[in-house]
């Protein structure tokens, strides 16, 4: 009898050992896939590119009188000038002015050769998007920082992260891979536009969705 009992407890002990091993294996697997999914994959998803010139916004904002609009202004026809062209920069940067090697690089490589700088635009939207800067900044009196963040306070150009699948910037897709958003400028997807449009009742005239008409922001 006692021998049989011994055998049973032995078997039980063995089973417990196997079960513990399975649970351990499961936990290791879970953590491994969490790390791959939340950390390794997101970093592989984006390629990192450096701007051709490391631009110092702080230095430039100090030198101009009208803040952002000194360089990123709205044209007379209502269109937005976007990133300044070389001609605008040449007004001041015909010759090297300071000690900064980045400025010397800019003057020698682009100004002297008359070549436009291939800036990487963090907020570049897809072709099908129509965004009117004048509507938002002039009529709705919004600050640039609401969508773009405190970019005017940056001393260096941040790394441009490009989505390898879609080709769009990470500033469009959002920093947080889980989709959490702390600031209004963390993401620039359609949902982020419509979130604000719904809140402020901007042209909620669509028949299908009862929300904003599609031809408000699409073209």
């Amino acid at each position: 009898m006692s021998k049989l009992d011994d055998k049973k407890t032995d078997q039980k002990g063995q089973e417990d050992g196997v079960r513990g091993f399975i649970i351990l294996f499961f936990i290791i697997g879970l953590f491994a896939s969490l790390i791959v999914g939340w950390m390794i994959f997101p970093s592989l998803l984006y390629s990192k590119k450096k701007q051709p010139i490391d631009f110092n916004h702080v230095l430039h904002v100090e030198a101009v009188d009208q803040g952002c609009e000194s360089c990123h202004y709205i044209r007379e026809d209502g269109s937005f000038s976007g990133v300044p062209k070389l001609a605008q920069c040449v007004d001041c940067h015909e010759e090297v002015q300071g000690e900064d090697p980045e400025e010397a690089k800019f003057v020698n490589e682009y100004v002297a050769e008359g070549k436009e700088v291939p800036w990487l635009v963090y907020s570049r939207q897809p072709d099908c998007v129509f965004f009117s800067h004048v509507t938002h900044t002039k009529m709705a009196e919004m600050d640039c920082a609401t969508c773009h963040g405190a970019i005017g306070e940056s001393e260096h150009s941040k790394i441009y992260e490009q989505n390898r699948i879609s080709g769009y910037s990470r500033d469009i897709w959002g920093k947080n891979i889980a989709g959490f958003k702390k600031n209004t400028w963390d993401r620039m997807k359609m949902d982020d536009c419509s979130e604000c449009h719904v809140k402020n009742h901007v042209r909620q005239a669509s028949v299908q969705t009862k929300k904003g008409g599609c031809f408000v922001c699409h073209k």
Binding site: G78, V134, T135, T209, C214, F215
Partner: protein, 261 residues
């Protein structure tokens, strides 16, 4: 704030085309294709496969020589209002690609949402919708002539006339830069309207008594295509000829034309 919005009268952009003036020259079709980056193929002989947002049809009264008469009829998208914005295409779209905007009365088409089921093409009684069987290929150098305000389409999606809506967006931008919220009649005109050498096409807000279309659409010679389907289109045609007006809809041989619905 919400109340304020409700007081602004909704616009209803529409078109009145005088068929007595139309010579069928096709300038509107050319202007439309150039304005809207409409793709074309090397071989355009098979018209079933061509994309023409605006297409000119030739009508004949079918009578022998002395009484024979023809009429050219340009056909853009009718931007049907249906009942409360339920245009035939809007009702059938499973992906909210096409939508009716109550503020402008324009039926929109968002190409990036479209997955090409073509229900809308089947639903449209005017054949105003076209399917992209291929990706557009522009002849070398021609991509420089593309209109940057109009997004190009890709293979597998449906496209149609938008009443040159990007022109409205651009006009609105200009108005806002000048501190105005509303766009003047002359600031937003479609490409076909401006290209027509005979001045047959008039475009404007059908709800605005100051716009030319407001009066023109009330002409006793005005009619719309397939009105009896209840699509409530926003493109009006004018013709002084009874047989042209009659060919705008289907009538029984012995039927006397019913005036307006």
């Amino acid at each position: 704030m919400k109340e304020e919005h409700k007081h602004i009268k909704a616009k209803k952009y529409g078109m009145v085309i005088d068929l007595d003036k139309c010579t069928g020259c096709g300038a509107c079709m050319v202007a439309c294709m150039a304005e809207n980056n409409v793709p074309f193929k090397e071989d355009e002989t098979d018209k079933l496969l061509s994309i023409t947002w605006l297409r000119i049809y030739k009508l004949t009264n079918g009578k022998p020589f002395p009484e024979t008469d023809i009429c050219y009829l340009p056909r853009p998208c009718m931007h049907c209002e249906g009942q409360h914005g339920h245009a035939p295409c809007v009702s059938v779209c499973p992906a909210t690609v096409t939508d009716y905007d109550m503020e402008t009365g324009i039926v929109s088409q968002i190409y990036t949402r479209c997955f090409g089921c073509r229900y809308c093409m089947a639903a449209c009684p005017y054949h105003a919708r076209y399917f992209n069987w291929w990706d557009p290929v522009w002849p070398e150098g021609m991509e420089k002539y593309l209109n940057p305000n109009v997004s190009p389409r890709m293979r597998g999606v449906v496209e149609k006339c938008s009443f040159c809506f990007p022109r409205y967006q651009v006009a609105k931008d200009k108005a806002m830069a000048e501190g105005r919220r509303e766009v003047e009649e002359h600031e937003y005109q479609t490409a076909c309207t401006q290209a027509c050498p005979a001045g047959a096409i008039t475009f404007g807000d059908l709800n605005n008594p100051k716009h030319a279309v407001y009066k023109l659409k009330m002409s006793p010679n005005a009619f719309r295509l397939l009105e009896r389907l209840g699509t409530n289109p926003k493109v009006y045609y004018i013709s002084s000829r009874e047989w042209v007006r009659r060919s705008g809809d289907n009538y029984l041989a012995n039927e006397v034309k019913i005036k307006k619905l």
